[in-house]
Symmetry: D2
Subunit: 266 residues, 4 copies
Amino acid sequence: MSLKGYTVPRTSTGKASLVPPPPWHYVGDFLVVDYWAEPEAVRAVLPEGLEPHPDPGRCAAVFADWQSCSEGGEELLDPIRSHYREFFIVVNALFEGEEVTTCPFIWVDQDFALARGWIQGFPKKLGSIWMTRTFGLDVPADPGLRPGGRHGATCSARGRAIAETTLTIEGEAAEGPRHNAPPIVNVRHFPRLAAGRHDDPQVHELVRAVSRDRAISKVYAGPATLTLHPAPGEEHDSLAPVKIDRGYRFTFGYTVDDLETVKELA
Amino acid sequence: MSLKGYTVPRTSTGKASLVPPPPWHYVGDFLVVDYWAEPEAVRAVLPEGLEPHPDPGRCAAVFADWQSCSEGGEELLDPIRSHYREFFIVVNALFEGEEVTTCPFIWVDQDFALARGWIQGFPKKLGSIWMTRTFGLDVPADPGLRPGGRHGATCSARGRAIAETTLTIEGEAAEGPRHNAPPIVNVRHFPRLAAGRHDDPQVHELVRAVSRDRAISKVYAGPATLTLHPAPGEEHDSLAPVKIDRGYRFTFGYTVDDLETVKELA
Amino acid sequence: MSLKGYTVPRTSTGKASLVPPPPWHYVGDFLVVDYWAEPEAVRAVLPEGLEPHPDPGRCAAVFADWQSCSEGGEELLDPIRSHYREFFIVVNALFEGEEVTTCPFIWVDQDFALARGWIQGFPKKLGSIWMTRTFGLDVPADPGLRPGGRHGATCSARGRAIAETTLTIEGEAAEGPRHNAPPIVNVRHFPRLAAGRHDDPQVHELVRAVSRDRAISKVYAGPATLTLHPAPGEEHDSLAPVKIDRGYRFTFGYTVDDLETVKELA
Amino acid sequence: MSLKGYTVPRTSTGKASLVPPPPWHYVGDFLVVDYWAEPEAVRAVLPEGLEPHPDPGRCAAVFADWQSCSEGGEELLDPIRSHYREFFIVVNALFEGEEVTTCPFIWVDQDFALARGWIQGFPKKLGSIWMTRTFGLDVPADPGLRPGGRHGATCSARGRAIAETTLTIEGEAAEGPRHNAPPIVNVRHFPRLAAGRHDDPQVHELVRAVSRDRAISKVYAGPATLTLHPAPGEEHDSLAPVKIDRGYRFTFGYTVDDLETVKELA
């Protein structure tokens, strides 16, 4: 009898798999800040195969409060298996002359999302992420999406502050954030443990994200703040903002069941 | 110099207080199931001063996904200080002939909410509570509030399942749940540790909740399920459902800055 | 039928009580740093009834990795109900001319310990506390209790760093830390929520801890570091060290089932 | 400039890597129960390449309370980066005629340990694991390692009970558990996301664990209990005990920096 399961643990039925098989359906609230870091710091996190963007230093900081499920939506009825929050940074770059983004740092608060990230080339660690919510009632505890509404988000990991942002909504925006708009190209990586091969990963390839059935709400925007904190065993603060454009609040959904390998790395 | 602070820890400024001073503003999503437990089990959790309700066994199970803040709303920008989720059961009773509810069991996932509960007479323990969300996008990961939309919620504590519920929305309801509609009367209780007085609490009084500025969304309702699981050191499962009416999904907000003591207990 | 239980929630059996009735038996590993803060900062956290110590600024920072149980020890078989870790600061003071300590700030990682703390006058909040362990094997992952053995501990709360310490063991010490040796006097405090009485706590009294059946291991000591980090909604960093004596590592056990009220506060 | 790091996230320095490069040094307390499950259930979790053991159904349930570090031991001073607890089951099998074990199910409470597990072929998910401790003091809260000392351990995941065990120490044992003694052979597995290749993992190989510098304490043993609970999305309870031999308590340390691939799987 052979074992089944998209990921470990694998069994005769596949039901215990940490990550159910694709497609994966997502919907979530986003708080995004378009900003610039030191160009040299951005260059230093580009994987092999990517070249610096002509607007060097271009980054986005992204907080997302997600609900996701696999086909059939069984996880939606058991929300500890569908909710998660994450914080990540993307930097802008060129791949074969085309504008792309890539994600050097990301934290997420659930194991299934961590594993799904590794499979897609997102370098996920566990963290604790929080983001202001809206509820559609005009009461003091609901900042709403109206002009003047103030929103915040934080990320910590291992009990240390990682990032925090605030956004004050000015109004609806004609379009969403620009710094995380290009297609994302990440590195899928899985190391070896065999003696002598610790520097020779078994999986090491540049991959381009593929998604479908994208949906987006109205977008709200306004002035934003962003702080990246140093922490032991972390390096994201090298991408601290030197200039901030603005922040965006919106809701977004899509489906993922494909990934394109664009280059094998050494 | 005297110390300030609505709760401990108290300092010269009061800023470190676990709970900021009232008023406390709340808004949150609710999933409520009207049901009946064994009449004898309900009677067994009534505090001194309350009499059984003429419809014996009447209960509600309530999941709430809250955002709250104190005056000025500072916590809204730092959502780890404003978000929390809770699960509780209310049973119906009479107080001096008037219909009331009382809360025998409740779990919450943040310390400030636990302390605020003790102050109001809610017998809070820590737990982990999860509840399906909606995002307003028509995508597979969003069950929405439309007929057929399926929602779930769970509560666990100390790594053991406490409760789970599901609701399938049929449509809008003219009114909300009836079993948790009456005013709530709880017991404020703070024990002594002095030798010989462990059974002689320093605070022991029946209190009636007072709130203002209530706001509510449209209410959606439909058939529901509810399971209460036994767990070590827990007794809420004595209130397991023998009959379920239906479930409700809505958003609710209010403000609390008062509490009425209605009876000193022995 | 009347309800039983040392704390809420109270039932006909008392089994669901968050905190079982005393006695409470404790054993745990300790990492303690004797140090001095700014004298004025220490004075600012003294509750009514305590006077400054003649050696102003005298403090201790205490990390403890506890296992506790009530009579019969049932919780020891279900360790999620017996383990907890905490970090606290004590400052030195005089009460009616006698040397005492008092605890202005403390974090703990379990609800039952938080509630037990409030009952004893410890102003507990939830936090995440970590402390290096020893295992008695001579392997690289075990720093041991030998000269040169390095130990660390951290505390965070709400995703922000609160405190960290390190100790390098020099050898056995003839005695333990001196700055937390005097008896501890804390404030039991339970506020009112009735309108107009938010500044008039229902319980507000100075209490002296009482314990029995104390046991202690050998004590190891050496040079130590201590950092107290600022964090939103926290004020413990006002007690940051201006001078550090040394650190101590030992194991300690005792039993608590009494508390002495020494003064009613206004 | 090329990126460094044993795992993601990879940077110019490698310092942000979730898992530092091998060697990895470990020390921890163990609670192990030798037992038998239904032979058919054991057969059903054997990966390709392993054959049933002649004593069919032979399993061990293992709780471990670990401290680990990489070369130099930096993590020992920051214990949130060195402590973790895990629960796993091993089943006995034959590989090319030799007695081996393999691990079908395992839960761990830290991200670095989850990733390190995947790299070694352990099918880790996140869970919450608790285990009775000893402190070397003769006090009621310390069960000690003496005859009659009672120890317990639990594992939960996603708020549901997974496993619990108890051990009553009878005395020292001449040797440790037998059911997890054979070398362990696991499956390293890393799936593809490219459309059409979801069933064609990129890494899929049978690996044999390699370790060195093993150290062990005295071993204590006695009668044990073990319960495996069903939970949504889990299948470990298929290996529930039909017969229990006994339980063991000991401390163990070793170093890992190698892994042997013994067979490529289809």
